[in-house]
Subunit: 543 residues, 2 copies
């Protein structure tokens, strides 16, 4: 079982050091500290375990070190920054693991860009040696890239020429869409196993600068200082501590404080419950800082994030997540009101940004989601986003019991999808005014009002509810899991595209296709044959 | 060998009838007239042969019948409009064929939308019976869809529930992006094998209207009349005839009048030459109408289109196309000047639109393209787009010989890529002003000026030229063809996304992935098992 929780004292592969407004994240991958057997993490190559630590560091920098304005990522190994994802690990991994590995590493890189765009923490890649493949893709997720000019160190994407696969962590998309490298140069670079060094790399826009070995450290340090002092203000916020989540794992589920899930392995489904706050919560920023990571919207969403990752990677056969909520709608809405009222405070800003990231993680999870709105549920405000993320929403229509949903200001833009739209906008592409109407609606929606407003898919009554859900669940889980993954990826992200949706949609889909092809993973495939004395044999038919 | 040329007298599966401003395209697929053995085209299901005729009809309506303003697509079969792509044909086809089949049918549907958007020919789908899978995808490529309400006929996308694959012709994307069907309803519809009938289909936005059987013909006819009379003006243009292309096929190539290609099978490359006009061409619309399909820009691009299709489908092992041009730059530029000066005339408009479509076909071809600019070449104006489409451009730097390229007004917007940008804009995403500078440049570009302007990738001199090209070609053709396809699809279309790029990028990539998965095409896969007494067996791991 893969565990996604860690903290700096437990890091095996990274060192995190803070010096005022500057943080240094140093990669020093321990060859033998692998997540699985059968490979060694040479040359700062990484497996999922290495990336879990990186993701944790990026997250902690935002919550625990809000004073940091510049983060430099570098390596402790001589002459090598990072050799990318470990090839032997990839070669030995089943398809589903490879795909989930790439998805998580993509999310980590997007979280770096999110921190830069929204938290004022700029990332600098200080390439003190060669950055190849995933190593360069990590660099290109940073704001600026500096390369040592030692006559040897290069940046490269050798996946196509050496391995017969694509760079799996957004490299191709970021080349042409983020750094806007000319497409013919991107073509040359992406087929050049040895990559490019300082001068040419700078000329082509692959890096932002280069320094000779003797001036590398000073050059990078000077740039970091510039960034850290750019806005002239010292950030005097003190961070909060992210403590380990308390979770009780049972044979068929996990119970966190506000999140639980129960697996129905036979049916290949899981019931996932998010519980709202149990009491009325404080409303001032000072009180929230004092609560720290115990504050409901932070804790509940951290737990939800961990649960989603667990289901993705450790429960591959679970195809359908039934989303439930339990709690008091007013208390959830009160939380949203507090968050909105304090949205300029660093901690509430970070809490909202984290909620948005977790919800995007849900959007990008390759499982079906049905939201079930029943008496006692609290799909309101931020938790209404769960229902809006779901592929379908069923809401009980009962004459006797209160079943309601509600919106809050958080549904109006603070929790965007990867396509840049709110989930309400994505839902009402045909009638954009409906998203506005829903937000302007006074009070809660009962089942009829919710159906009328277009917020739910089906609203069965008491008599039909159980049967209708059961049949829908059985039908869903009987379908081809691959076809569902492709279908959901297509239907969830209508409307505009962003670099993120390109990475998760276009690039990932091509990569998954290539991962399945005999030319990559067949007995004579390039990925299989990497490091072997035998040469890859290709079927040259072009498709 | 598959032949893409046809004409109405040779149609086996379609009937094309013109009545004033209204054209009727009737589908009546002949079961036994298949392109390959081993399947029967029952229930108006189609194979590539059926779609080649449809593509021809759409093309001819624009050139031969400019008076047509409304086109209705319907079926001659009782109770069935079209059952989509033939499943047995798909099940029996190798992967590369399935992919190319889907690509061509996608291009045909995009050409319907192009005719509607740019040629004033609106398409109406008159579903006189059930439209399932590709049948509904054909309908959704039309502007409006009307369904007979006979208690039985439905629209459906049964691919996911019945076949374990995605609808392969843009259906999912057009559902949510063109018709903007609510995503949860799109989810239900796309998993419902039997589909939806009149009232619900209309309510969910899947169709535009429905009529009882007795009123169906009149209802559709009334709508067609409205469209045909909408702008009040009668179009008095008379069409031109598209005659069969004259082509000489040799064992290792094809020679058209202005286009030739020569296969180097051993090297898995092809040299493709486009020749410019041999004489000065007329400059008035009347003279061009008289020339008809003999006019260079129409004939040369029709030939190029046929050559590209031939290479795609009949020459799968050819991985690299070396693009050459031969001719007089001034004559090519003069053609562009004539086209721009007459761009409001219906025929020149159609000629330009066709050039744009052929160039998009090139962008979407899953082969590598290197443009080679040498003495005697004429990469100017519209033919410069070939070099800008190429993955790389090599231009000889010679002290003794004249090697030049040039722009024209046609490079400024009339020949857009699928992403909606010009190829110059796509090239200079990082420095948009460079696209403007190139267009404003006086006179031609010699090699140094072209390199300085960023228009070519490499400019080897006489001494290096041959070796450098040889090495580049050898390297390219040694790489994994699958990795190249995914890489090129990612690098060619930076910048904005459109419905077309979503269909060709995201949806196609997912579909290709699913086509390879054992759950679809393995011995127990759903596609393999379709119509068999055995049930599909799935590996339920979600990826």
């Amino acid at each position: 079982m893969i565990n996604f929780e860690t903290s700096p004292v437990g890091y095996k592969h990274w060192k995190l050091a803070i010096d005022g407004a500057i943080a240094t994240l140093t990669m020093d991958v321990q060859e033998d500290e692998t997540l699985n057997d059968g490979y060694k993490l040479k040359l700062n190559s990484y497996d999922l375990g290495v990336d879990i630590e990186l993701a944790d560091a990026v997250q902690r920098l935002r919550f625990e070190h809000p004073e940091v304005k510049a983060v430099v990522i570098t390596s402790l190994k001589p002459r090598i920054f990072c050799a990318g994802a470990n090839i032997y690990m990839l070669g030995a991994s089943p398809h589903a693991f490879k795909v989930n590995f790439c998805k998580f590493t993509n999310e980590t890189r997007c979280s770096i860009e999110d921190a830069s765009a929204n938290s004022g923490q700029r990332y600098i890649a200080a390439l003190n040696g060669t950055a190849s493949g995933g190593g360069y893709e990590l660099a290109i997720a940073c704001d600026e890239i500096f390369l040592v000019d030692d006559g040897n160190s290069a940046v490269s994407l050798p996946e196509v020429p050496l391995l017969g696969v694509l760079p799996g962590t957004g490299g191709l998309t970021r080349l042409v869409d983020k750094r806007k490298v000319r497409r013919d140069r991107a073509d040359v670079f992406s087929t050049l196993a040895e990559g490019l060094k300082g001068k040419r790399a700078k000329e082509w826009g692959l890096i932002d600068g280069y320094f000779p070995t003797s001036k590398f450290q000073d050059g990078v340090a000077a740039r970091l200082k510039e960034i850290a002092e750019a806005d002239g203000q010292k950030q005097d916020a003190k961070g909060i501590k992210l403590n380990p989540l308390e979770v009780e794992a049972t044979g068929n589920g996990r119970d966190y404080k506000y999140v639980s899930f129960k697996l129905n392995r036979e049916e290949r489904t899981v019931d996932l419950v998010v519980r709202g706050p149990e009491t009325n919560l404080p409303t001032t920023a000072a009180e929230i800082e004092k609560l720290g990571d115990a504050y409901w919207p932070l804790r509940a969403y951290r737990e939800l994030d961990d649960a989603l990752l667990h289901l993705r990677v450790n429960e591959l056969e679970i195809g359908l997540v039934c989303l439930h909520t339990e709690g008091d709608i007013d208390r959830v809405l009160a939380v949203d009101q507090t968050l909105v009222a304090n949205k300029d405070h660093w901690l509430t800003r970070e809490i909202i940004l984290n909620m948005a990231r977790v919800l995007r993680r849900l959007d990008l999870t390759a499982k079906s989601f049905f939201a079930l709105v029943e008496p006692g549920s609290c799909f309101a405000g931020n938790l209404l986003e769960l229902a809006l993320s779901a592929d379908r929403t069923y809401m009980l229509n009962s004459p006797d019991e209160k079943v309601e949903i509600a919106t809050s200001e958080l549904n109006a833009g603070a929790l965007p999808m990867s396509n840049g739209l709110t989930r309400l906008q994505s839902r009402f592409l045909a009638e954009p005014e409906k998203a506005e109407e829903v937000l302007a609606h006074e009070g809660r929606f009962d089942t009829e009002a919710a159906e009328e407003a277009g917020l739910v898919t089906f609203a069965p009554d008491d008599l039909d509810w159980e049967d209708e859900i059961r049949v829908a669940v059985e039908e869903r889980t009987s379908l081809s899991p691959d076809a569902l993954t492709g279908m959901e990826a297509s239907l969830r992200f209508a409307g505009p595209e962003t670099m993120d949706t390109k990475i998760y949609g276009r690039l990932t889909a091509w990569q998954n296709w290539i991962f399945q092809r005999p030319n990559a993973t067949g007995p004579q495939g390039a990925l299989t044959n990497y490091g072997q004395p035998t040469q890859a044999q290709f079927d040259y038919k072009r498709t």
